[in-house]
């Protein structure tokens, strides 16, 4: 489906962001891309739809070599690749519906998009997607009136409005609270399964990645240092990706925090009962 061979990116400043990265992804596979900040995760997924121009290597989506495409062919290719961004990247002063319909821009002429006269099937699809992500009541609201979680749902609908063959997801949960983060991750992964859609998800939160993805790729300083199922992501693997740190302690701490939270809830419930008893 998607295969990346010896992808290298060197920025004009001389920084080598990606070194000889190779992997391939099957239809319907959701891949979590993890690694420390500055490891090249964002660069990697932006090379795939050439928002960043790769320096060398091949990126093949259904046997089309993306780095070799001309300008017009690139636009046609981009519309087949949906992207979901960190901090949503919605056009804030446009309505929710306009943001979703902007997913069709690669398919319609400039005049059609200027006058917002989209084909009925595009509009139907947009309504259907907004229904799917739970935003049917906010169609004509401006994007900047929504909460973070709602905005990211619009971002998801916009990406799907493109009828993509591949989904690129850049830190979808970076500015969301823990609960909303899980909901958004669950939604993205469910949709990928429904449509048999392959996806690459950049993500900071290792636990969250392990919870949802089929496969994890670890990137450090532009090189792939781990590639396997989430279950194999053990202490040694995490050390290879992120460097020395007591991962077991961190997991234990996370578990304890969860335990504390439920203890606190139990304590509060008990307290309330007692108060009710004294009255």
């Amino acid at each position: 489906m998607l295969s990346i061979e010896a992808l290298t990116k060197r920025y004009k400043t001389g920084d080598l962001a990606l070194k000889d990265v190779s992997f391939s992804i099957e239809r319907g596979q959701v891949v979590g891309l993890i690694g420390p900040s500055g490891a090249g995760k964002s660069t990697l997924i932006r090379c795939i739809n050439r928002l960043v121009e790769p320096t060398a290597g091949a990126i093949r989506l259904s046997d089309v070599d993306i780095p070799k495409l001309g300008r017009t062919q690139l636009k046609t290719m981009r519309r087949r690749i949906g992207m979901i961004y960190q901090e949503y990247a919605l056009v804030e002063r446009l309505t929710v519906m306009e943001n979703v319909l902007s997913g069709r821009l690669g398919y319609v002429s400039f005049w059609r998009s200027l006058s917002r006269r989209y084909a009925q099937k595009d509009v139907d699809k947009a309504f259907g997607l907004l229904e799917r992500v739970g935003l049917s009541d906010h169609v004509d609201k401006r994007a900047d009136e929504l909460s973070g979680g709602q905005r990211q749902r619009v971002g998801i609908a916009r990406a799907l409005e493109q009828d993509p063959e591949l989904l690129l997801v850049d830190e979808p949960t970076a500015s969301l609270d823990p609960k909303t983060s899980r909901q958004i991750m669950r939604l993205i992964c469910e949709i990928c399964r429904e449509h048999d859609l392959p996806a690459i998800i950049n993500i900071h939160d290792v636990m969250l990645a392990q919870m949802f993805v089929d496969r994890v790729i670890g990137l450090t300083a532009g090189e792939v240092v781990f590639d396997g199922p989430p279950a194999e992501l053990d202490h040694a693997a995490l050390t290879r990706i992120y460097g020395e740190e007591d991962w077991r302690e961190m997991r234990k701490a996370a578990d304890e925090a969860a335990q504390d939270a439920s203890d606190a809830a139990a304590f509060k419930a008990a307290e309330e009962e007692r108060m009710a008893g004294t009255v």
Binding site: N49, L51, K75, T76, M77, R78, R79, R80, I81, M83, Y85, E87, A89, L90, V91, E92, R93, L94, E98, S102, G103, R104, L105, G106, Y107, F110, S113, L114, G155, R158, Q162
Partner: protein, 269 residues
Amino acid sequence: MSEVQAVSRRWRRPPVLIRNDFWRRAIYSGALLYLLLAIGTLEVDWQRAYEGLERGARFLQGFLTPDFTSRFDQIQRGMVESVTMTVCSTMVGILISVPIGLGAARNISPLPVYLVCRAIISVSRAFQEIIIAILFVAMFGFGAFAGFVTLSFATIGFLAKLLADDIEEIDPRQAEAVRGTGAGWWQVVNYGVQPQVMPRLIGLSLYRFDINFRESAVIGIVGAGGIGATLNTAMDRYDYSTASAILILIIIFVMLAEYSSGYIRKWIQ
């Protein structure tokens, strides 16, 4: 208890511009000396200034008794001409500024286009309206047409530059996301850039509208028509009462434009 009272330490804000004591004093006292010497070279003819006071008083008296009626038809013609000039030149100016502004934004335009558009802006900004007006009056003759061309030209320098600067400061992520859907250049401008700069573009256009009205009163003095020409005629005739009426009308019109543009700007936010 082993509490030791620390010796108080003095603190003063360090000098802001020049740290070195000697140079600071030398430069400041040099500047003061120059100022005194420069004032000393001014030649003031106190006799002439005293005689002028009387004229000034007549001038002010005329202004305290504005006369709207005796030259009403001339004032009316001048005002209509000025308003026409203002509206037309602002509209034409905006229409030309928008494409030039797009071209002059480095983040959306290629280098050659950028350089050409910035050059047009620089030429337009380099000359004050009066100088352009003198040129166009020489080219097109006296009257409102020269004024219209002058104001349109000046509007381009102002609006295109501020629009381009505003486009360069947009949130690039919103535009990137639109580009990522496979949108073409015009679609990126329409969906990713325009919504971000539109409120400011409208605000600037309204601001330019009242600048153009004020300028239309000034360039009339060099022959470019409008209320300025009427004002100039009144001054030449020592008809201060009519001149006063004209100035009051200009003030009222500018205030109206100011208030309504403020209201509109708030409404489009």
